[in-house]
């Protein structure tokens, strides 16, 4: 391979670094109306009265929008395929507000300042209602967060709003109770994970204008332009054909931009007034009023026999979806489906639980998508079990974990919102990942700990898996067009959001067309111009959209060869195409690609050569990894320094090794953020305190000492040039690896994220008191 799996610069890095216009707000019309949302000061309340008379009189105020301006059409903002596995429980604006930061009304004015003045003039009377702020008290609470009659599920997801349940699920393989009862060793532990915030540096941003065909053209910093178009159409009853959604460069998403946020209001204002409008979330809105990772409680029970065989896994999970149920079921299912198959030799597995409503900021998609929560619980529990059994946790994993050519019954049972797809692990280099990781971190000499005068050095590890798209659901399509002068356009619906998909997809096309990256010009994504793609989520882009690009390139190539055969007056099988010229192998006559493309464009039997191909996965080959952390703990203060994080990853072929490494590095640091730094704090009244970057702390470059990221050789037959996914897998291991390292250092077990020095200190105090 010449282009794939080679060092290739990103196709857009130069222009981005130079600051060329690229992101959504760079394209906002100068005279855009500004939309500002009045946000609820109460966690739960009914709007009794809105007095906006004074505000409306203010010069420059275009309109004030309240729930009365919208037809009551429930929808979900989740940004998923249709029908969505998320409940339709949201209205553009509603009479009820369900968390501090929820939308009360919107002011539309000629400037930011006018909107703010208008907001100050508006008086809202609320009937303040008793909220549910503790997700463990939500089910069958006398308070019902969603009593409205219109809301519904699209198909059975266990939606029981009267009980504050947004979704529920249960899955059994074998009989867990029986298996556990028969085990020689059983451990039980409960884990908690927090509502991590995405903190993509570009806030949620949308702008719109009516174009000269009187259609609404929306620029949105979104991961899912096609879903955005559909949801706007359904929610506002604007014909789909009247909407164009353009996704320019996106400044980070991580799942946070899978859902729609400002789109509805912006689209409504522009459609209604005919004037351009825009919204840029403040950082506080991003924290308080977009969405977070689902906080969870995970009650785990593991059982093993005295021969060191893991026999049973029982996971009872409660997930908090906050005020609205976006991704409630699917994130929950991934907590099981992309975690539990790691140990596929058990007799029985149970995965059961509910996703509940509370009066907190809603939860939604976030890189890892439930797997990081599940991984923290399972991989911590495995170490706990090993301690109880007195066995080596590495050996235990090596004996019990998934290996190549094996399978797990869970794949067939659990999909995302639906049944799953049975599959074999045609590539699973987990054993090699563990072996290499042990060497790279120098486990042998550091495990479990090295004590010096004032510090303890220790190591910890965890293994993980993810998926590559959702089989039979995620569809990606690509169009490739040959131009005169012999270069190509590649149009994809796949959404570049910073993960490098434009570069990777270009490489795939260039490899197949035997050309260089600069001869393939990519464009993503625009609902008018590019073919459909579900968008950037579920680790689907390289695998699903990449396969679509590969197909399109293959088909275009054969169309080109067909035409060349006509021009060179021979049969197709006699044509040899090497990317630069077509050769008739019989008479050695040839035509260069440039001459060919010019001729076919301008002079003889002219035609446009262009093909569109699409791809739907039939399986979702998981990438695997082993993550190892080395830490130094201060013996007196329990401050933790993360010395190194070793990631050994099997993601199949790395289409772009440097960018793949970037995906893992970035995900590891986000995972370390969740494991260690990113504390989510609510006040007693339900207000998010950590709602700005002063109080919500993501890792800085001084906090990251060293990352060692390597890839094992692996080739997944079903993937484009052997690739699987790599976007999410990196985030899963840090919480468990860190918790295990802390245990190895001090003999205490932190079960609640984040693992702060203060929590370690509190646990040490308890331990020393005993």
């Amino acid at each position: 391979m010449k282009v794939v799996n080679n060092k290739v610069h990103s196709v857009d890095g130069l222009g981005i670094m130079k600051g060329r216009k690229a992101y959504t707000d760079d394209f906002a019309e100068k005279d855009s109306l500004i939309i500002k949302v009045l946000r609820s000061p109460h966690p739960f309340a009914k709007i009794k009265k809105i007095d906006d008379q004074e505000a409306k009189k203010l010069t420059g105020v275009e309109m004030v929008l309240t729930y009365k301006d919208f037809k009551r059409i429930p929808f979900t903002r989740a940004g998923q395929g249709y029908p969505e596995p998320s409940p339709h429980d949201k209205f553009v604006l509603d009479e009820y507000v369900r968390y501090i930061g929820d939308e009360v009304l919107a002011v539309v004015g000629s400037s930011d300042e006018i909107c703010r003045k208008a907001l100050d003039l508006i008086k809202v009377e609320y009937e303040v209602l008793e909220p549910i702020l503790d997700f463990e008290q939500a089910i069958d609470n006398q308070v019902i967060i969603h009593p409205e009659p219109e809301i519904h599920e699209m198909f059975d997801i266990g939606f029981k709003p009267k009980r504050n349940i947004a979704a529920a699920y249960e899955m059994n393989v074998g009989d867990v109770e029986k298996s556990l009862a028969a085990c020689d060793y059983v451990i039980r532990e409960t884990f908690y994970t927090q509502a991590q915030a995405h903190v993509m540096l570009e806030p949620h941003t949308v702008n719109a204008r009516m174009d000269y065909q009187n259609r609404i053209c929306i620029y949105s910093a979104t991961q899912t332009p096609f879903h955005v178009r559909r949801i706007i159409s359904q929610g506002l009853e604007i014909p789909l054909s009247k909407i164009r959604v353009i996704k320019p460069r996106v400044g980070g998403g991580f799942g946070g931009k899978q859902a729609i946020h400002g789109e509805m209001l912006v689209a409504f204002v522009t459609y209604k007034t005919g004037k351009p409008a825009k919204i840029v979330y403040t950082r506080k809105e991003v924290f308080e009023s977009s969405y977070t990772r689902h906080p969870m409680r995970l009650e785990m029970a593991l059982g093993a026999d005295k021969n060191g065989k893991l026999k049973a896994i029982d996971a009872k999970v409660l997930s908090d979806t906050g005020a609205y149920g976006e991704h409630a079921l699917t994130v929950f299912m991934v907590t099981g489906s992309k975690v539990l198959p790691l140990y596929n030799k058990v007799d029985s597995v149970r995965f059961v639980g509910d996703v509940v409503y509370t009066n907190h900021t809603p939860a939604g998609a976030f890189r890892g998508y439930g797997a990081i929560q599940g991984n923290f619980a399972l991989e911590s529990a495995i170490d706990i079990l090993c301690v109880k059994m007195g066995v080596d946790p590495i050996k235990f994993r090596q004996e019990n974990m998934m290996k190549e050519n094996e399978t797990s019954p869970i794949f067939a049972i659990m999909g995302e919102g639906t049944a799953g797809t049975a599959m074999n692990m045609d590539t699973c280099k987990l054993e090699e990942c563990v072996e290499r990781g042990l060497k790279l971190i120098d486990w042998q000499s550091k495990y479990p700990r090295i004590e010096t005068e004032d510090k303890i050095k220790s190591v910890g590890m965890a293994i993980a898996m993810q998926g590559s798209g959702i089989p039979y659901i995620d569809m990606g399509a690509a169009t490739i067009k040959l131009n005169d002068d012999g270069f190509y356009n590649l149009m994809v619906g796949a959404t570049e959001i910073g993960q490098g998909s434009d570069t990777v997809l270009t490489q795939i096309a260039a490899e197949e067309l035997m050309t260089s990256v600069d001869k393939v010009v990519i464009y993503s994504s625009d609902t008018d111009l590019t073919p459909f793609d579900v968008g950037a989520y579920a680790s689907s882009t390289t695998y699903v959209s990449g396969n679509a690009v590969l197909r399109a390139a293959k088909e275009l190539k054969s169309r080109m060869v067909e035409e060349a055969a006509r021009i060179l007056e021979t049969k197709i099988e006699n044509i040899d195409f090497d990317g630069k010229r077509f050769l008739n192998i019989n008479d050695k006559k040839e035509i260069s690609l440039i001459d060919f493309s010019n001729q076919i464009t301008y002079s003889h039997e002219q035609k446009q050569l262009q093909v569109t191909s699409s791809y739907v996965g039939h399986k979702s080959p998981p990438p695997f990894m082993a993550g190892f952390v080395e830490i130094d703990i201060d013996k007196e203060t329990y401050e933790v320094e993360i010395i190194n994080y070793v990631s050994v990853v099997d993601c199949g072929t790395t289409i772009n090794p440097m960018l793949a490494k970037g995906q893992v590095d970035g995900a590891i640091v986000q995972g370390l953020g969740m494991a260690f730094y990113e504390d989510v704090q609510y006040s007693k009244t339900g207000k998010l305190i950590s709602s700005d970057m002063l109080n919500y702390k993501i890792p800085t470059r001084l906090d990251i000492k060293n990352l060692t990221t390597v890839f094992v050789d692996s080739y997944e037959e079903s993937g484009p040039f052997g690739a699987k996914s790599v976007g999410e897998i990196g985030i899963d291991t840090p919480p468990a690896a860190l918790a295990n390292a802390v245990y190895n250092a001090l003999g205490i077990r932190i079960t609640k994220l984040p693992i702060t020095p203060e929590k370690i200190y509190q646990e040490m105090r308890k331990k020393n008191e005993k």
């Binding site: 930011d112 504390d679 950590s690 203060e758």
Partner: protein, 266 residues
């Protein structure tokens, strides 16, 4: 995003003018670098910039280093002479505040006049025994400044740091490198010890009894250090907030006071 509303902006050319504008009304405010003003004030009638008053300088004479109130933090941090005094703790404390961008903007004057509870600077200025010169109030010590019930309605002109042959120690404990302190500890040792603890979460406080106790000792055994820490915990007040509990703060103080003392007596 416009945060604070400003009635009118002034950049007077004389101190008298600036002062008169300032004392005219409670709603008039002085702006140093403006980083804090921006996020803390909603409305200001007259915003008075000191940009034209030539308060941006670092000078020295025989007795003092004098830093103009409008000198930005980065200039103080990178000043080669300031790095040499008190083992460079002023430089260290500043270099741990956020990134260079904000340090190029925020001023030393604003950092003092804000009287921030989380301040990493004030403890260091305490152990350096710094003096503050105000336009009307004249010169007062940083101790006196902290004792004032209210922030004086005056213009801070400069900060004087006495030249002493003292060693220094500074420690900031924070979650990430861009966070406020969970606790910060400054110690100086010339003839005597001076110890200050900030972000308790209250503003930096001098541990006078602790210092007195240490000053009476000659041999700093483990027991003596423990006793000194007991005194410090006793005389300073600690509390809990979103960054840490009272107990954990106390643990940090014990640990780092000891480590600091060991370092400055080396």
């Amino acid at each position: 995003m416009i945060f604070m509303e400003i009635g009118k902006y002034y950049a007077p050319e004389t101190l008298e003018e600036a002062y008169n504008l300032f004392v005219e009304s409670k709603d008039n405010k002085i702006i140093g670098g403006g980083a804090w003003v921006k996020i803390s004030l909603k409305r200001v009638e007259k915003l008075i910039s000191l940009d034209q008053l030539k308060l941006d300088y670092i000078q020295e004479n025989n007795a003092y280093y004098e830093i103009g109130a409008m000198t930005n933090l980065r200039s103080v941090e990178t000043n080669e002479n300031i790095k040499l005094i008190y083992s460079g703790i002023l430089n260290q404390a500043i270099s741990n505040i956020m990134g260079v961008q904000i340090r190029n903007l925020a001023t030393i004057g604003g950092s003092i006049m804000g009287k921030f509870a989380f301040s990493d600077l004030i403890g260091v200025l305490l152990v350096m025994d710094a003096k503050l010169e105000f336009y009307k109030l004249g010169e007062i010590s940083i101790y006196e400044f902290l004792d004032l019930k209210k922030i004086p309605e005056d213009i801070l002109l400069n900060i004087k740091i006495p030249k002493r042959d003292s060693k220094g120690y500074f420690k900031k404990v924070s979650k990430t490198h861009l966070d406020f302190s969970i606790i910060n500890i400054a110690i100086s040792k010339g003839k005597n010890f001076i110890i200050a603890v900030g972000s308790r979460p209250g503003i930096a406080q001098s541990a006078i009894n602790t210092a007195n106790y240490l000053n009476s000792q000659t041999n700093f055994t483990e027991e003596i250090l423990d006793k000194a820490c007991d005194i410090a915990i006793d005389e300073l007040t600690f509390g809990s907030n979103l960054r840490a509990s009272k107990e954990y703060r106390e643990l940090l103080v014990r640990t780092y006071i000891k480590r600091g003392i060991r370092q400055v007596i080396k």
